[in-house]
């Protein structure tokens, strides 16, 4: 029987890594953020572009899902109107915990240039938002940077217990 010399410290050593449950779970969560396809308006096109060939969102582990049950990230891309507001709330309620929301573009952040009767002045009136992306419309790079920031935020969170309910405002 051949004797293999095992150096526990060199060449990666043993295939064992010591860590905490928090880190492992957060590693999994942050690197497979499945986003709900919530393209409402122009920003939705940039969201599609970031999923398409040049910007290639898949390398972040972000795959767009059409069902809120399979998604944990909601990218609200575009203008939210008063007629649509109840649907965004209903879809948000249908998403499983833990869930995060990125508000993409000026319209979703504050109502943007549409300071009119028909526009909700910021999606945070309806659902709690984790990250605001500025721009009209934000470039795909902005969305990708935003997702990276969200990953950092997730890594800081505690994974072991249920998420604290988020305050709306």
């Amino acid at each position: 029987m051949a004797q293999h010399q095992v150096n526990y410290l060199k060449d990666g050593g043993l295939p064992v890594a010591l860590t905490t449950i928090d880190k492992v779970v957060n590693w999994g969560r942050s690197n497979s953020l499945w986003a709900l396809t919530y393209g409402l308006a122009c920003c939705g096109i940039e969201m599609m572009a970031s999923g398409a060939s040049r910007y290639d969102f898949d390398r972040f582990g972000t795959i767009f899902r059409a069902s809120p049950r399979q998604a944990e990230l909601m990218v609200v891309a575009g203008t939210l109107t008063k007629k649509h507001a109840e649907f965004i709330r209903r879809l948000y309620d249908q998403m499983t915990e833990p869930k995060w929301v990125i508000s993409m573009g000026s319209c979703a952040n504050t109502g943007g240039m549409f300071n009119t009767y028909a526009t909700v002045q910021g999606v945070d009136r309806v659902i709690p938002v984790d990250l605001y992306l500025p721009g009209c419309a934000p470039r795909p790079e902005t969305l990708q940077y935003g997702v990276m920031m969200l990953q950092q935020k997730i890594r800081r969170e505690s994974a072991s217990r249920a998420q604290k309910p988020k305050r709306l405002m």
Partner: protein
């Protein structure tokens, strides 16, 4: 606030007649293949649709109301957000309507640049249409291919005006900037490669069995129906009506360039797909001709009309009177003459018209946006009954509706 909210399923707008075996299916407003926020109420008999009821307005932002509260130049960025796939064509339609209202003639170089913008936007729009429709039907490769080419065009537009999606690249009375140095070379390089790319898509789709089954003889629009529903653009030409505003009522330099208007009399999804592909080739043809025109033009970019249009920057910085006029035009806005115009242009989706009623003030008294997609959505009411559930997706795909435009 994590309180239980009071949302319950509801079906406004519709009275349901309870019939045996009839099912009512709600499609949207947030559906991945609805191309935006379309809500369809479908009455189904098994898999077959007996009655369709499109519900729109989920992206209604009150643009016409905004226009009444804005000076003319201020409204230009708002038009970007209408048909956001091809913003410059909206900008252009508005600029043209105001120019006709005040009777302005635009310098030739501005016309050439506008033609380039319009046709690159048409290409962008058609590529985007191809990508999304193919994705809806399941052809992921075409989606990736078409987006690749679209990104090159976005780069070109970005070089010109700095924005990818919302260009605002046309001003009332001309264009704000001359072309950057690399633009002509890059556009030519892109156009030289385009036939190869189009051939790629066609190789993937034309004889594809799935594509043909989803497209051929599905969503047939008769000539009478298309005319009655106010269809325009490809939707009308696929039904056998040869009507292209670029050809029939030429604006800009469309009467100087050589191009064909592809027509088909089948009226089904496949005919529309073939027309979009043919239109891309025609756009490339127009762009080649326009590129040659550019070098022969004078460098002026904005029309000379001190009452309505600011003077060039050099004049503003050196001449007192130009500065005063510029100040008035920026703070108070131009005041077009009293009157009304309706100016149609051929946007990538169809007939994009602006009706402006001016009462001589700095704000339009009434501005009506005639967006082609509005009627292309309406036609679903008559088109969908008789079709099956999978056909809904491909029909919505080929009608090429954009909800910024439908709801405005």
């Amino acid at each position: 606030m994590q309180q239980s909210n009071r949302l319950r399923p509801f079906f406004e707008n519709i009275t349901f007649d309870r019939v045996d075996n009839e099912m009512i299916l709600n499609f949207g407003p947030q559906h991945p293949s609805a191309h935006g926020q379309l809500r369809l109420m479908l009455h189904m008999q098994q898999e077959q649709i007996t009655k369709a009821h499109p519900d729109i307005g989920y992206l209604h932002r009150g643009m016409e109301k905004m226009a009444e509260n804005m000076i003319y130049n201020e409204f230009m960025p708002t038009t970007d957000r209408m048909d956001y796939i091809a913003s410059s064509s909206n900008n252009y339609g508005f600029a043209l309507a105001v120019e006709r209202l005040i009777g302005l003639e635009v310098p030739r170089r501005a016309k050439v640049i506008r033609m380039m913008l319009l046709e690159t936007n048409r290409l962008m729009s058609h590529l985007f249409w191809l990508a999304t429709t193919a994705l809806d039907i399941g052809a992921m490769t075409v989606f990736l291919f078409a987006f690749r080419e679209r990104e090159y065009l976005m780069d070109l537009i970005e070089d010109y005006c700095g924005a990818r999606l919302t260009h605002s690249a046309v001003r009332i009375g001309g264009v704000p900037l001359d072309l950057p140095d690399n633009f002509i070379g890059d556009l030519r390089k892109f156009l030289d490669k385009l036939p190869e790319n189009i051939k790629d898509y066609e190789d993937l789709l034309d004889t594809n069995r799935i594509w043909l089954m989803r497209m051929e003889n599905v969503g047939v629009i008769s000539k009478e129906m298309a005319l009655s529903w106010g269809c325009s653009g490809v939707m009308l030409r696929a039904s056998g009506v040869e009507w292209d505003i670029r050809k029939e009522e030429p604006y800009e330099l469309y009467d100087e360039v050589e191009f064909n208007v592809p027509v088909s009399d089948k009226g089904d999804n496949y005919a529309r797909y073939k027309l979009y592909m043919a239109e891309m080739k025609e756009s490339a043809k127009i762009l080649y001709q326009v590129l040659d025109m550019y070098s022969e033009t004078e460098p002026a970019l904005m029309a000379h009309a001190p009452q309505y249009i600011s003077a060039p920057k050099l004049d503003i910085m050196t001449q007192n009177y130009s500065l005063m006029q510029h100040f008035v035009l920026v703070t108070q806005g131009m005041r077009p003459p009293v009157g009304e115009v309706y100016i149609p242009t051929e946007s990538p989706k169809g007939e994009l018209g602006y009706y402006i009623n001016s009462q001589g003030g700095a704000y339009p008294y009434r501005l009506k946006l005639r967006a082609p997609s509005f009627w292309h959505t309406g036609i679903l009411t008559d088109l969908l009954p008789g079709h099956y559930i999978p056909d809904v997706v491909s029909i919505i795909g080929t009608t090429n509706i954009v909800f910024g435009e439908v709801d405005r």
